[in-house]
């Protein structure tokens, strides 16, 4: 008897109810086991990720403290310009460019007023980084 004969025999033996039971058994087991395993992995990855990060942050902080102690003595040469709150840290030059762009679009006859400029929440990428990613992912 070869393999396909065995398969044929098994085919004939299954009744409709047996088929239902067999598939329900596999579907349930499969669903529960696959999810249980992967959810278990989620917890374990989270736990060890947290532990590793904590350990590494602790290591970094002690290093940074030492570095700060050294760096504190020389006074900063140029004081950082304080950006106006409504421009969300965007430099004046960029504000000027955006205003110019808006003026071009609406025309100078319409008196537009820029109330605030906010960085869009695009994952914090700069325009150049975005262009780079776009370039790299375009073939896909």
């Amino acid at each position: 008897m070869n393999l396909s004969d065995v398969a044929l025999l098994a085919k004939e033996e299954l009744s409709l109810a047996e088929k239902g039971i067999a598939s329900a058994k596999v579907v349930l087991t499969g669903f529960v086991v696959v999810f249980a395993m992967l959810i278990l992995l989620i917890f374990i990855i989270k736990i060890y990720g947290a532990i590793v990060q904590k350990a590494q942050n602790a290591g970094k902080k002690s290093k940074e403290k030492k570095a700060e102690a050294v760096a504190e003595t020389p006074a900063p040469v140029v004081a950082a310009p304080v950006a106006p709150a409504q421009t969300d840290g965007v430099s004046d030059e960029v504000v000027a460019v955006i205003s110019a762009a808006v003026a071009t679009m609406y025309g100078s006859s319409e008196k537009a007023r820029i109330k605030s400029i906010k960085k869009s929440s695009d994952g914090g990428r700069s325009a150049w980084a975005k262009a780079g990613v776009l370039d790299n992912t375009r073939p896909f």
Binding site: A22, V33, L40, G123
Partner: protein
């Protein structure tokens, strides 16, 4: 006259031994199919690295079936031995009805021997070794929740199992057919060789065809199940993952999966070994070999011999048509469940997760992740889902290996 007769006999002998008289119509149909597949591989470039060897293996076996023939033992009398120049000494003898026969072993065909690596479940884990070397689990480690999507996309496997059972397949066959929904070639082959080796040709070809068709099959399902607003969700950038975390990941995963589900250990074990080659950074040479030379060699052997299982008589059956339909259902279900769970995560996180990354939960690395990226970008050109989709994508590889382990354990 004698010379002419000899010539006619010789030509007759060659003709009788040639394919023209030994092949039947199924072989010719399959030769046609293999040429179409070669066209798709070369001109359309559908997964050419696999489709080309598969198609050629299919072509070879249908032109010359003996290339897959197993070794046999011929029983020859001493007189026949003398006539055929076979040494009598050194072979076992059998006496039947008082006549002594010499047991003369004949060798199997070339592809028969190469096929042993498939049959014994050796090649698929070795392919996983190479895949492990090329896989970056970083996106998964930084966003472990994507494992849920990798699990959700496996539901298709089990739903299709039910369909296959009711279409008259045995439990073992149904398990092998369902695994097509895992969208992972090596896993599908591994499970099929263990559960239903006689269906290997059809299942492998269905699995690889659907993987090649991911960019065509998935987007309509993804679009149908999501709203415009959901597709446009921009996800937060992933946190950087430290080297230590990346090194610990393969070791921890293999310990957990191999302890709880030993049947998945060969696949997951090799995947994680490959990944450790990559992340440890101390065995660069081994990693390079595993992901380049070794993987290429195995791909040639695997592709050609899997193609060679599709001889006309095996392949042109009603079962093959059922398998191809069930495989497509499995694939679509996997995609749909991935996206649906993505939607659940979208709701649960208050709109932080883009449900499109769910479809990448059907392994098919990295094609499925690229599809998520592409569909997402169609909605918002500044949206980059690729790395976010890689999380569920590699989780899908682990998920299908786990699902394979479950199937092998329950129905094997």
């Amino acid at each position: 006259m004698e010379i002419l007769q000899g010539f006619v006999d010789a030509v007759k002998g060659i003709f009788e031994g040639s394919g023209l008289s030994t092949l039947n119509w199924q072989n010719y149909v399959m030769i046609g199919v293999s040429i179409v597949l070669l066209y798709l591989a070369i001109k359309k470039q559908y997964e050419p690295l696999l489709l080309l060897p598969i198609a050629f293996g299919m072509l070879l076996v249908n032109l010359y079936p003996s290339i897959m023939a197993p070794p046999t033992t011929q029983l020859l009398t001493e007189a026949q031995c003398a006539a055929q120049n076979v040494a009598v000494s050194g072979h076992a003898k059998t006496v039947i009805d008082g006549v002594t026969y010499i047991e003369n072993p004949t060798y199997g065909g070339l592809l028969y021997y190469l096929y042993q690596g498939v049959k014994l479940g050796i090649y698929p884990p070795l392919i996983f070794l190479g895949i492990g070397c090329m896989t970056d689990f970083g996106p998964l480690i930084s966003n472990p929740k994507s494992l849920i999507l990798g699990a959700a996309a496996q539901i298709g496997i089990f739903v299709t199992f039910t369909g296959a059972i009711f279409l008259g397949f045995t439990e073992a066959e149904a398990g092998a057919i369902g695994i097509i929904g895992g969208a992972d070639g090596p896993t599908a082959i591994y499970v099929t060789t263990k559960l239903a080796p006689h269906l290997l040709g059809s299942i492998a070809i269905a699995a690889y065809s659907y993987m090649a068709l991911v960019p065509i099959i998935q987007p309509p399902i993804m679009k149908a199940l999501t709203t415009k607003k959901e597709r446009a969700v921009v996800m937060e950038q992933l946190r950087p993952v430290s080297k230590l975390e990346k090194i610990m990941f393969p070791v921890i995963v293999v310990i957990i999966i191999a302890i709880f589900l030993p049947d998945a250990a060969p696949l997951v074990g090799m995947l994680m070994l490959g990944n450790l080659f990559k992340e440890s950074g101390v065995v660069e040479r081994l990693g390079k070999t595993a992901q380049n030379e070794l993987m290429n060699i195995i791909t040639i052997f695997l592709g050609t011999t899997v193609g060679a299982t599709a001889s006309g008589q095996n392949f042109l059956t009603l079962d093959t048509i059922k398998i191809i339909i069930l495989g497509l259902i499995a694939f679509c279900m996997g995609t749909a469940f991935g996206v649906l769970f993505g939607k659940i995560m979208y709701k649960a996180t208050g709109g932080k997760v883009n449900p499109l990354i769910g479809s990448a939960g059907v392994s098919a690395v990295p094609m499925a992740a690229r599809v998520s990226q592409k569909v997402g970008q169609a909605e918002n050109p500044g949206n980059f889902l690729l790395m976010h989709a890689m999380g569920p994508n590699v989780a899908g590889v682990i998920g299908s290996a786990v699902a394979a382990g479950v199937l092998l354990n329950v129905v094997g």
